[in-house]
């Protein structure tokens, strides 16, 4: 059986509000949002570690800007 471990996370009121907003918009529980955030962080981290870069692209304005990810 996969053992679960518990962690307590202290957030400011503003951070909690942002988390709740994300959960509402994405129709996910707050826990699911945090898990998705960790997956995204790991995905970016893995690919940047391999030498790739992460960009935001605005197709209409034809602009591309790099997201700086600090290792």
């Amino acid at each position: 059986m996969l053992a679960k471990r518990t962690m307590t996370l202290n957030l400011t009121a503003a951070e909690m509000e942002a988390l709740e907003g994300l959960a509402r918009r994405k129709d996910l529980s707050k826990t699911a949002v945090i898990r998705q955030a960790l997956r995204l962080y790991q995905l970016v981290d893995t690919r940047v570690a391999q030498g790739e870069k992460l960009f935001f692209e605005d197709e209409l304005q034809r602009k591309k800007s790099e997201l700086m990810v600090l290792g």
Partner: protein, 212 residues
């Protein structure tokens, strides 16, 4: 890794055979499957050439070589907090099909727009389960494709994504996703070489899993 017992149909005898759904594989398993499937693909290519089957009728994934791409697959390695998860269906001690899903970075295009879904990056059945045009080969087993899609839908439910799934189909598979899987066809996607994009929304996911 966990497994769940299921069945496939052995076409020649019509009998149901025992099989297993695997819901947590590694890239090693993908490469193991490729090692097994590659000789069968070469054999199919040989038959297609010998019988002068037009190129347009060849299986569209025949030339894919995942072993060659192994280095580039590292970012897609499944793991805790990986965005990727690899599923498989095994029978007679051989991989009969694999599916790689991704749960980050692919928002829904059907209403409600912008929600999370499981995007199917890759799904392949073993070459002996194909029915390539013009060489008289029928599938050894039937039942792999839909059960692999079922794994993606159940993962989506498990993630709180309500069973939503998206994918870009190769043309030879368009009718499978539109028909058997009941997915909505959102048409050719210029960002994916005009491959048609299909999406399963929450309601159709429930129908798919027979929960309606």
């Amino acid at each position: 890794m966990s497994t769940h017992a299921t069945k496939l149909k052995h076409v020649a005898t019509g009998k149901l055979v025992d099989a297993e759904l695997h819901d947590s594989l590694s890239l090693d398993d993908l490469l193991d499957a490729e090692a097994l499937w590659a000789p069968a693909k070469i054999q199919i290519a040989r038959e297609l050439l010998n019988r002068s089957v037009p190129r347009s009728e060849w299986p569209q994934s025949l030339h894919w070589n995942w072993a060659e791409k192994a280095i580039t697959l590292k970012p897609y390695a499944p793991g805790p907090f990986s965005a990727y998860r690899l599923f498989g269906l095994r029978a007679e001690e051989r991989w009969q099909g694999l599916l790689l899903g991704c749960c980050v970075g692919h928002p829904t295009r059907l209403a409600p727009v912008g929600r999370d879904l499981v995007y199917v990056e890759f799904v392949e059945t073993a070459p002996w389960n194909w029915q390539p045009s013009g060489i008289g080969q029928g599938p050894l087993f039937k039942g792999t494709g839909l059960q692999l899609v079922e794994l993606a839908v159940r993962w989506s439910e498990d993630l709180d994504f309500r069973g939503r799934v998206g994918l870009h189909s190769l043309p030879q598979a368009d009718s499978f996703y539109r028909g058997a899987c009941g997915m909505s066809d959102l048409g050719p996607d210029p960002k994916y070489r005009q491959l048609r994009y299909f999406e399963l929304d929450e309601s159709h996911a429930r129908t798919f899993l027979e929960e309606n």
